[in-house]
């Protein structure tokens, strides 16, 4: 299918590829240090490179009320000074070793990574362990880096009507859970973030018993263990690490609708989202059914929505369905429909609803389900070509409370999903009363 890069970029927050699969052929080793830090090693000896990632079980949904954006702000500040290193020296040292480093923050985790030649792993560990506890921040750091994150918000969100729309849709979706607050933060709260906010988050969440080390590439698990014990193993666990208990959503009793208008919108579209269960430890069956359901409905040219809205009729220029079970708390199942020229958003939305209704009546096409499962199995072969993807998958899963066993069971659980499971999942989730519908529109022309 010819995808719309522009539109999918605007919808990027919704996008989640079908979770790739663990495979029997993956060389994955798992162990735990005495201080509680978990370690995953993914071996791939084809190139002399290594990637180190450290994932903290702390994301924007763990932030205190009123300090939105502090998890991401702190991520930036971890590139400043420590007791041993000057501001900027961390990245400069990685570069000096021919490597690249960066970090990212999401609702449920914050992760830091470096990619370097395999023989530089020890130095990376020494530096990453250092900044787990020893950052030293100045008022000047706070001032300039706060400007940087505000410019980041400008670039990612305020300059993009699609991103501003997404923010409003999420806020409408989650009344009481922090997933309704953007990871980057609300501007008025970002402007007030200070040294105490950052350090308080750091001291609460950055400790070995709240972290996962994932090393992938040309490494020997025993050597990784020795190095990990030497650098991370000596850091004491934080006995006061809080449990991750978040305010949850109340039952949704009213359909929610919003219209977002912006003069910069060139291509209007409609989104629909429903609250949906996520993958839980030992309980991933529903999430597996929803994962396959999203492929059936909106996974490209052969999908049900494409058939109904792009081929049988020419209602839409683009259709998509998205589900990502990789979160700590309830996630969403989302649709997007970009109407064809001359089609209104109401017509597009009605066509979406009619297609969902007819899908609930006709059920799963057995051939399509077989093709999707074949792709899932083949992906286990292709995944072996990409150790970093495997490393990411383990890091993310462990950060949201899944276990290595859950990750390894996932392909089998996907493979075992039946047509009945999928229809039951669809009936459970697609209830208009628990939906949010958003229209992204051009500014109305005024006189």
């Amino acid at each position: 299918m010819f995808r719309l890069p522009k539109l999918t970029a605007l919808l990027a927050f919704l996008l989640a590829p079908v979770a790739a699969l663990a495979s029997d052929n993956e060389a994955v080793t798992y162990f735990k240090l005495d201080n509680g830090m978990e370690v995953v090693v993914v071996e791939d000896h084809r190139a002399p490179a290594v990637q180190q990632m450290v994932w903290y079980r702390a994301g924007s949904a763990d932030e205190p009320k009123g300090s939105s954006g502090v998890a991401h702000f702190l991520e930036h500040l971890l590139f400043k000074a420590t007791d041993k290193m000057e501001a900027g020296e961390f990245s400069a040292t990685v570069a000096l070793n021919g490597g690249r480093d960066n970090a990212f923050t999401s609702y449920d985790y914050t992760a830091y990574f470096q990619r370097v030649a395999a023989d530089r792993l020890e130095l990376m560990m020494e530096m990453e362990a250092d900044r787990m506890k020893n950052i030293r921040l100045t008022p000047e750091n706070i001032r300039t880096e706060r400007d940087v994150i505000l410019e980041e918000r400008n670039q990612r969100t305020d300059n993009s009507p699609g991103a501003l729309f997404n923010e409003q849709v999420n806020a409408a979706q989650y009344l009481n859970h922090r997933y309704g607050t953007p990871v980057i933060g609300w501007r008025h709260e970002m402007e007030e973030l200070d040294l105490d906010d950052a350090l308080s988050f750091y001291e609460t969440y950055y400790s070995p018993n709240n972290a996962i080390l994932v090393v992938s590439g040309d490494v020997d698990p025993e050597e990784v263990r020795t190095l990990a014990e030497k650098y991370y193993g000596v850091i004491p666990a934080n006995p006061d690490l809080p449990e991750r208990i978040r305010t949850q959503e109340p039952p949704q009793t009213a359909e929610r609708r919003l219209v977002f208008r912006d003069a910069r919108v060139a291509q209007p579209y409609v989104t629909r989202s429903y609250l949906a269960p996520e993958r839980d430890p030992g309980d991933q069956e529903k999430a597996a059914a929803l994962t396959i359901l999203s492929e059936i409905l909106g996974g490209g040219t052969t999908s049900y929505l494409a058939e109904k809205l792009q081929f049988d009729t020419q209602i839409a220029t683009y259709t998509g369905a998205f589900y990502n079970g990789g979160s700590l708390d309830d996630t969403t199942f989302d649709f997007a429909v970009v109407p064809a020229a001359g089609v209104t958003l109401q017509e597009a939305e009605d066509a979406l609803d009619a297609a969902l209704q007819s899908f609930l009546e006709t059920g799963v096409d057995a051939d399509q389900l077989a093709r999707i499962k074949l792709q899932i199995r083949a992906d286990q072969i292709y995944a072996r070509d990409d150790a970093e993807r495997v490393a990411n998958r383990y890091g993310r899963a462990l950060a949201i409370g899944l276990t290595v066993a859950d990750v390894q069971a996932w392909p089998g659980i996907l493979d075992a999903v039946t047509a009945d499971d999928i229809m039951q999942a669809a009936r459970d989730v697609f209830d208009r009363r628990t939906s949010v519908t958003g229209w992204l529109m051009k500014e109305e022309v005024t006189q």
Binding site: M1, F2, L4, P5, K6, L7, A47, P48, A49, F79, K84, M85, G88, S91, A92, T93, A95, L96, N97, G98, G99, R100, V116, A117, D119, E122, L123, E126, M127, R143, T144, E145, D147, V148, L150, E151, E152, N154, Q155, D158, N159, A263, R264, A266, Q267, T301, T302, Q310, Q314, T317, Y318, R371, L374, A378, I381, Y382, R384, D385, D386, E388
Partner: protein, 438 residues
């Protein structure tokens, strides 16, 4: 801290990791040349095919035809309509990517060993017997028109299209590969067939294969896949005459953050000074956090989330480009800092330490690129299109390490043109006005 310092010294002393890539040149019985890296440990192959010329071969009256044609290659072929073709890919668990840019039409395929022959049959249908069904043309035309409309309201796209118009006169590089609303609306099926003939020809083809396949298997496979294509296509366009006037072009666009794209004439990849320019740019504005531009504009002043410069060395033109985004009330300061850094580097070159650090980074990062069958296949094709020798990978870092401080000073003086820089600023920048006519 001493310990870390000692470790760094150790690392500098050790040799950078070497990319162990054993490339074989394969000539098919039918005369096609491909570069192959055998990698039998995973039962699949990544195959990268490029046709030189790309969207620059568009007939000036039919802008966007090659883009639309490329998008339609997967929308129906031989006896399959679009959905049947997509289903066939799914049944084989193979994937084909069809892409086009200014210099090439690219096909990125991956297929399992067990489905190799059937996958090649399917890809051959797409390349040699695309249907260009009326229904598919209209559907994809609608998608392309939607993209063009969106680009017109995206500050990044407005900036790059504005810069291209300024820099490339009436050369194909001056135009968006998507075409315009009018040109795409007017395209006919015959235009798409002509576009197909213009680009997909054997005299401009470059092939890289990596994975579970032998040279003996690859040759006949390529003839089977590509043998039916015509021998020649459209003549290649000429080199662009790059004319970038000094100054600023402001494009008024109501958005809170201004997006700036800046540039000046660049340097060809086969220029003897290219690696010197690469080292120079690494320090000035290359990808990382530690470049001078990042340090001055982001780290010290907090004026942006990201500022970069890069050597955009393409087939038909060479420009030296950069980008930055800042709030409307701060973009003027960001631009003035960038100008100062450009001037400083032009006048003084780099320090010995900067040269060493950049050399260490560039040589150390090189082997890390070879991280998967698909990425390696891409590199193989890129090397062939640049006319590089098959043993280039083993010698490339030597060329970087040969760069001296004097080389850098000379090239900085010759290449960097702080007075000649042109900034395109899209937004509502405070204190900036257009200083040149387009």
């Amino acid at each position: 801290m001493r310990l870390i310092y000692a470790l760094i010294l150790t690392c500098l002393a050790s040799l950078p990791a070497r990319a162990e890539v054993d490339i074989q040149e394969v000539t098919s019985p039918g005369g096609l040349t491909a570069w192959l890296v055998e990698e039998p440990s995973i039962p699949f192959v990544a195959l990268e095919i490029r046709f030189r010329g790309g969207a620059s071969l568009d007939d000036p009256e039919k802008r966007g035809a090659i883009n639309l044609m490329t998008a339609l290659l997967e929308e129906g072929a031989a006896d399959m309509d679009a959905r049947a073709f997509a289903q066939a890919q799914e049944e084989l668990a193979t994937s084909f990517g069809f892409d086009v840019d200014r210099d090439a039409v690219s096909i990125s395929a991956r297929f399992l060993t067990e489905n190799r022959d059937a996958s090649i049959d399917l890809l051959r249908d797409a390349l040699t017997q695309p249907r260009f069904d009326a229904e598919a043309i209209e559907r994809v035309r609608g998608q392309v028109l939607s993209i063009i409309q969106s680009d017109q309201k995206d500050p990044n796209d407005i900036a790059s299209e504005t810069f291209a118009r300024i820099a490339y006169g009436d050369h194909p590089y001056a135009y968006s590969i998507n075409g315009t609303i009018d040109s795409v609306t007017a395209l006919t099926r015959d235009d798409l067939i002509a576009a197909h003939k213009a680009v997909l020809a054997r005299d401009r083809i470059y092939i890289g294969a990596v994975g579970d396949i032998t040279p003996e298997e690859l040759g006949p496979l390529l003839d089977d896949l590509l043998g039916a294509l015509p021998e020649t296509g459209a003549p290649m366009p000429p080199q662009a005459n790059v004319t970038i006037p000094a100054g600023i072009t402001v494009v008024d666009f109501p958005t809170p953050q201004s997006v700036a794209l800046f540039g000046q004439p660049g340097i060809a990849q086969d220029d003897p000074d290219f690696f010197t320019a690469l080292v120079l740019n690494q320090v000035l504005g290359g990808g990382g956090f530690e470049s001078r531009l990042m340090d001055e504009v982001r780290e010290k002043r907090g004026l942006t989330y990201g500022v970069y410069s890069y050597l955009a060395s393409r087939d038909l033109a060479n420009v030296y480009m950069g980008s930055v985004s800042s709030s409307n009330d701060r973009i003027a300061e960001a631009i003035s800092v960038i100008r100062e850094e450009w001037e400083k580097a032009a006048a003084e070159g780099l320090s010995e330490k900067e040269l060493q650090d950049a050399t260490t980074y560039i040589t150390g990062a090189y082997p890390l690129r070879f991280d998967g069958n698909g990425p390696i296949a891409n590199i193989l094709v890129g090397m062939q299109m640049l006319g590089l020798p098959i043993d280039y990978i083993a010698t490339r870092n030597d060329k970087v390490e040969a760069v001296t401080l004097d080389d850098v000073k000379r090239v900085a003086d010759e290449l960097l043109d702080p007075e000649g820089l042109h900034f395109v600023v899209v937004g509502q920048p405070v204190g900036l006005e257009t200083t040149v006519g387009e």
